[in-house]
Symmetry: C2
Subunit: 259 residues, 2 copies
Amino acid sequence: MLILLTNDDGIFSPGLAGLYRELVALGEVQVVAPASVESATSHGITLKAPLLTSRVTIPGAFTGTAVDGRPADCVKLAVSQVLPRRPDLMVSGINAGANVGINVLYSGTVAAAIEGAFLGLPSIAVSQHLRGEASPDYGLAAKLARETIEQILAAGLGPRQVATVNLPVLKTGESPAGVKIVRQCTRAWGDTYERRRDPRGHDYFWNTSVFALNTDEEDTDVAALRDGYVTITPLQFDLTNHALLGEWSRKKWSGFQNG
Amino acid sequence: MLILLTNDDGIFSPGLAGLYRELVALGEVQVVAPASVESATSHGITLKAPLLTSRVTIPGAFTGTAVDGRPADCVKLAVSQVLPRRPDLMVSGINAGANVGINVLYSGTVAAAIEGAFLGLPSIAVSQHLRGEASPDYGLAAKLARETIEQILAAGLGPRQVATVNLPVLKTGESPAGVKIVRQCTRAWGDTYERRRDPRGHDYFWNTSVFALNTDEEDTDVAALRDGYVTITPLQFDLTNHALLGEWSRKKWSGFQNG
């Protein structure tokens, strides 16, 4: 099995190296990842600039390809140009920070997996919930991630299918509460900003939002992660609102003829 | 009615000014848009840098707020900080280029509208298909856009609901073939790259993909736009694959207990 591994925190991220070390138990792993941190870049792609590449060696882990682009660029370029053959599986992560709720749409980690699915691959994104400033134990997280990926593959993840995994905060020796298959919470976060004034009198704003795992929708990724579970959410990339599509299709629309 | 208008081509884009001039027929319009071109930035947001703002006047159109950020940042900041009160409608566009098929996921124009919906607003994205190098007639496009927006509002677009509109290539005096309510095509585009070598021996790659309106899925946005229709697609932002969620929920998952 050939596995394409990428992320959005960049090729030097410890979460990427940790996941690499576990995934080699499942097959050959090739890394094609952003050269720099590309958090919250969502599904951005690079069309009007060239994608510079370089080879990067992470001691004790891998030699991979760094791409001066976004996570989705890495997946496109890997499949089209870098890998020796078509991969059998695409994995993205481990992201430093949970990607639950509407953060699923902001996340470059998840976007990379969706791009893999566009290209016909079974694709899995993995994110680690953080609490406080302490760096997580990525060795432990990667082991959990690999076990979860094995279970997802056993459950059956086909071409063009995507799953996203979130790992709860754990200390060494702890176990998660269990595994939950949950839907994406679609509640808005409350946005807050701090307004400042620059020396020339222009306003500027820092985003001060804190993404807490608060929800009263108990069947969601947000609630399950809050409760200490490993969450698995199967994703899709048809953004059509089919209910509204059906409703609107039955209405009469004016056709914009001349006059 | 207070309308928030943004885009991803930047505050100086002629598509934005054109749409502004038409939307003032529907209510008060306030522009909060990216300071520079933010095409294909999808739903990226800015968390680790401040959002610089400035006031910009486009002669013959508007004075608005330019934000040194991405389209979704503009929507968040507008609703949270810039606008005098909560808007009744959010409009994004007119984008220079169609946003159909999987481009819906790459598009900053569409992401802005989805962000508006996160925040509880009825939200509409508008994009103009381009063919060749000629600049489109944004006056004509904006008139079509305004008529389409009026129809969508009449059909009923609620809070947290999103519609995306694509306008066909038209010459002055021409009319579209009609209006079609269509689903998003989910076919992959074929990615192509041109590989070059820099003077120091590193490979770099230009994306050379051409996004043609080719599909055999006749009930989609891609096919309808190809055939000269104004397309309307209602969107949603729950990425859960509910069919697979149901299937996987009935399986037995191992719970990662110790040992």
